[in-house]
């Protein structure tokens, strides 16, 4: 059975349950958020081409080119020379529609149902937007019963956390006590792939014709959290097992801490890849804020890529980088705020012994931004960004002018210009963008988003592969938020909060 068909059946079952619950309950409450968007965007890649070795021409320095000026590479012994020419302009026009439905007051106190689904398609003429096949996907579809001390959930669900999104079809039991200051959860079921609502067995994830698991992994996770007098702590354990071989797919442990040391807020966390026996990603941040005047933050972090054991990539020993960073935000003026951030990172020794390719050992990032809000209607921002990194860098700046003529209407114009050289490819690109956006809450339950942007890109190369092109991108979004009764059970104070008065 395909993932798509399973998703439809699960959705159908939940709709039946909702209908049944609605019939049983005197007056169920529900909330529906529907967001649809259409976009048209163009991009331009590269296209591999070749010529016979005999057709290659050499310049004065002995470098080989095609007759029309493309630099070529002619492998030893090959009859062909290869080169990349600028690809055709490819246009993609995806349309996505997302539906979130929640229902409660279903006749059983504490019972709630949630469905979140997504449909997507791309009628574009040349390119296909990612995530459009299969067109229908069920993100969440579960029933939940919550009591003061216990919460039970069954169905398709996900939990964002330290390990990213843990997604599974199954159950989750959570208990809490001491007035919510301690909680523990256990969950399990059949897992989904990372970063998508599809299972790892789905052919849509097999873009490059690689190994594809025959069965979905079994997921088992534990989580414990406590609110201590001096800190908030949380620990998580996750294991995923390939049921066919009983091999581990992942096994990870993570812990996090949020505390206060004098006037300084400190939060730290780390995870360990137990399957590989490697220390994973970790971070520690300290923030001190002098009321509204200034905020200073400093910290260190370690980033290590994570790969599951269904791939061989982890065995290639990716190395982590260690970074230190600091940021400063100033806001002593009523209408002007300024902030800046700096980070420097260094890669661990890779242990490679062939120094034929030299890459940067470290990287640094600087970002600075000013925001001026002379009144409630106008916002002017400007920022600079510089990132020097192995692989790719960027430097440039951007700015925007925002105007809010009414509570329901936001207008914005923006522009930006960046140089973005890529280290491993001979390609110094310049990018200039300018455009605008409109956000209009046409009614309390309806919002439109429109954006139109022009991009000019110059890929500067000393041969005929140089590209100078421009394109228009546009997007239109519609969000509808409907509720059984927008005010029932919602405190008046909440309804008075400005940002609650327009759908998000």
């Amino acid at each position: 059975m395909t993932n798509c068909r399973r998703g439809r059946r699960a959705l159908f079952a939940i709709v039946l349950l909702l209908a049944g619950g609605s019939t049983a309950a005197a007056s169920p409450d529900w909330s529906v958020r529907w967001h649809s968007a259409a976009r048209t965007t163009e991009f331009r890649g590269v296209e591999l081409d070749s010529i016979p070795v005999a057709d290659a021409v050499a310049d004065a320095d002995g470098r080989l080119f095609t007759p029309d000026g493309y630099a070529v590479r002619c492998p030893a012994g090959s009859a062909w020379c290869y080169f990349y020419r600028a690809g055709d302009v490819e246009r993609s026009s995806p349309i996505t529609s997302e539906l979130d439905v929640s229902a409660w007051r279903l006749g059983v106190p504490g019972l709630r149902a949630k469905v979140s689904a997504r449909a997507a398609g791309d009628p574009g003429d040349t390119a296909v937007w990612p995530g459009t096949d299969p067109a229908f996907r069920l993100r969440e579809g579960y029933l939940e019963w919550a009591h003061e001390f216990v919460e039970i959930r069954g169905g398709r669900q996900f939990d964002p956390g330290r390990f990213g999104f843990i997604q599974w079809d199954g159950g989750r039991l959570r208990v809490q006590g001491w007035n919510g200051r301690a909680s523990a959860a256990v969950y399990g079921g059949l897992g989904l792939a990372r970063g998508t609502s599809l299972s790892a067995t789905d052919p849509a994830l097999d873009v490059l014709d690689e190994f594809r698991p025959a069965d979905r992994q079994r997921v088992l996770g534990f989580e414990a959290a406590g609110v201590l007098p001096c800190a908030n702590v949380r620990a998580q354990y996750l294991r995923e097992i390939d049921p066919r071989a009983e091999d581990f797919v992942t096994e990870r442990f993570g812990a996090e801490l949020d505390t206060r040391v004098g006037p300084v807020t400190v939060n730290a966390g780390s995870d360990w890849d137990l399957a590989f026996g490697e220390w994973g990603t970790a971070e520690i941040d300290a923030t001190w804020r002098a009321h509204r005047l200034a905020a200073v933050s400093a910290g260190a972090r370690r980033y290590r890529p994570f790969f599951d054991l269904w791939t061989v990539w982890g065995a290639f020993s990716p190395v982590p980088y260690k970074a230190t960073h600091a940021s400063l935000a100033l806001g002593p003026w009523r209408t002007l705020t300024a902030n800046g951030r700096f980070e420097h990172w260094t890669w661990d020794d890779t242990g490679t012994t062939i120094p034929l390719v030299v890459t940067e050992d470290d990287g640094k990032r600087f970002e600075g931004r000013l925001a001026w809000r002379p009144d409630d209607r106008w916002t002017v921002t400007g920022g600079l960004q510089r990132v020097e990194n192995a692989g790719a860098s960027i430097w440039g700046g951007d700015g925007s002018v925002g105007y809010r003529p009414a509570e329901t209407l936001d207008l914005s114009l923006d522009f930006g210009r960046w140089d973005r050289p890529i280290e491993l490819r001979y390609d110094d690109a310049e990018l200039t963008t300018w455009g605008g956006s409109v956000r209009w809450a046409a009614a309390p339950a309806v919002r439109f988003d429109l954006a139109l942007r022009h991009l000019d890109e110059v890929r500067d190369r000393p041969d005929a592969s140089r590209v100078d092109w421009g394109t228009w991108n546009a997007s239109l979004g519609l969000t509808v938020q409907l509720d059984s009764d927008r005010t029932r059970g919602v405190p008046p104070a909440v309804l008075r909060i400005p940002e609650r008065q327009v759908p998000r």
Binding site: T196, A315, L424, G435
Partner: protein, 472 residues
């Protein structure tokens, strides 16, 4: 002539009548005719009857013949909040008290000269000092405000505050402490608030105490809008000025009882929109209580610039803190395990055209929202960036480094996530496989082969087949 005589007689009448005015009443002179006070002040003997003689009573003599006529209209009832009655005092004294014991000897003119001073009351009632004593039992002599109906709003406004009310902190916690002390450390009740009731009613207390209906000392008070002529305001408590109060007020020793003094549920819901149950310990605003102190919603200290991209550790360490103000759906606006919506979301405008630097730097893990194969590789393939299967040696995409293929290890171990956005496993296994290819060892420093062979032997077989090194 006759007119002139009339004017003269009228002037004469006014001149004669004027000395009979209230302030000039001659008690000493009248004592000769009425030796007993009760002869005129009949109310002394019977509570509820008029204390002063009526004009008709005076006219029995002052009829213009026996004595001069008077124009006195009678004494208006006093606007007072005294709960004193003469018969009760007479009875309490065992009929031993005489009028002069309190009013002094009758002498001179005037009708107000004989009102005893409060100190005279205090002399007998064991009150050291009227009015300014913290222990004063005001209710002993004074009616509660809502029973002192003869007082006007102006009368109430003119009450002088006792000296205790000027003490530091009296308006905040001082008055409560004073009442608790008076109650012997117990919850103050009607007895302790009786003195307060002389000047105050429920309406006054409810200006700050939104839990008035549940506070015995306040609930014991009557209702009287006149009490609002004394306006008060609630200063922000010092505890609220403390650093990190916003984050800590949920669990740093504050009890809902304390909060309920000034706050209603509406106060909490200004911020706790996503978790309305958090306010269950407080009372809701209702007609019999005020709306309470209304906080202003603002970002906590942790939300420094850049927090949008760096909040992950804090959010996962203490999601309950986020949940205080944020609904899960707000998180899902960006955090969706399907980052390929047609509408712009997490990334800034034009991000697609400049994403390589973020992808290489991995400030945040792209794979958490984007499946590397479905999202990255599918797009890179359409852009011509993925490996062309028959031209691994000759494609030369990484032409920034002429010998990239032979020295790519350094870059690969640093940016493996970027590599796999274009390359399939089979690309690398062309060389890095023990079973096939050129047998280049891909394992780096610290590679724990034994652990991996134990955890996922199937993965080892991809390169090593069944001959996994070190395994039987």
């Amino acid at each position: 002539m006759r007119t002139a005589m009339r004017i003269l007689l009228a002037c004469l009448f006014v001149t004669v009548a004027a000395p009979i005015a209230r302030a000039e009443f001659d008690h000493e002179f009248h004592l000769d005719f009425f030796p007993e006070c009760e002869a005129c002040h009949r109310g002394v003997e019977q509570a509820g009857t008029a204390m002063f003689p009526s004009p008709d009573q005076c006219r029995a003599c002052h009829d213009g013949d026996t004595a001069d006529e008077i124009d006195w209209a009678g004494r208006q009832p006093s606007r007072t909040n005294l709960k004193f009655t003469h018969p009760q005092h007479q009875e309490d004294s065992g009929d031993a008290a005489t009028c002069t014991d309190c009013h002094g000897p009758v002498s001179g003119k005037g009708s107000t000269n004989f009102r005893p001073a409060a100190s005279r009351c205090a002399d007998c009632h064991d009150v050291e000092e009227h009015f300014d004593s913290a222990e004063a039992d005001c209710a002993m002599c004074h009616l509660p405000l809502w029973k002192a109906t003869s007082l006007t709003r102006e009368d109430v406004a003119a009450f002088d505050p006792p000296a205790t009310h000027a003490e530091d902190g009296f308006a905040q916690g001082g008055h409560g402490a004073w009442m608790r002390e008076a109650a012997g450390g117990e919850m103050p009740g009607a007895k302790e608030s009786a003195s307060c009731a002389v000047c105050h009613a429920k309406e006054f207390c409810s200006q700050c105490h939104v839990n008035g209906p549940e506070t015995p000392a306040i609930a014991a008070l009557g209702s009287d809008p006149r009490s609002l002529v004394n306006q008060t305001w609630l200063a922000v408590p010092s505890s609220h000025q403390a650093d990190r109060f916003l984050e800590a007020h949920g669990h740093d020793g504050f009890s809902t009882n304390q909060c309920a003094t000034c706050h209603t549920r509406e106060s909490c819901w200004v911020c706790h929109a996503a978790t309305p149950a958090v306010a269950n310990g407080l009372f809701g605003a209702s007609p019999d209580r005020g709306v309470g102190a209304q906080p202003t919603r603002h970002k906590p200290d942790s939300h420094v610039p850049g927090f949008g991209t760096s909040h992950g550790p804090l959010a996962t360490a203490a999601p309950q803190n986020c949940a205080a103000c944020h609904d899960r759906s707000e998180c899902l606006d960006c955090h969706r395990p399907e980052g390929s919506s047609a509408s712009p979301g997490f990334h800034p405008a034009g991000f697609l055209a400049r994403h390589p630097v973020e992808a290489y730097a991995r400030e945040t893990s792209c794979a958490e929202c984007h499946h590397p194969r479905e999202f990255c590789a599918s797009c890179h393939e359409q852009s011509g960036l993925t490996r062309q299967r028959d031209s691994l040696l000759g494609a030369g995409f990484h032409d920034g480094q002429r010998t990239f293929l032979f020295g790519h290890g350094d870059a690969a171990r640093r940016h493996l996530e970027s590599c796999v956005s274009c390359h399939a496993e089979s690309d690398c296994l062309t060389c890095h496989s023990a079973r096939q290819g050129r047998g280049f060892n891909p394992h780096g420093p610290g590679f724990d082969a034994a652990r991996l062979a134990e955890k996922a032997p199937q993965m080892c077989t991809v390169c090593h087949g069944l001959a996994i090194p070190g395994r039987q």
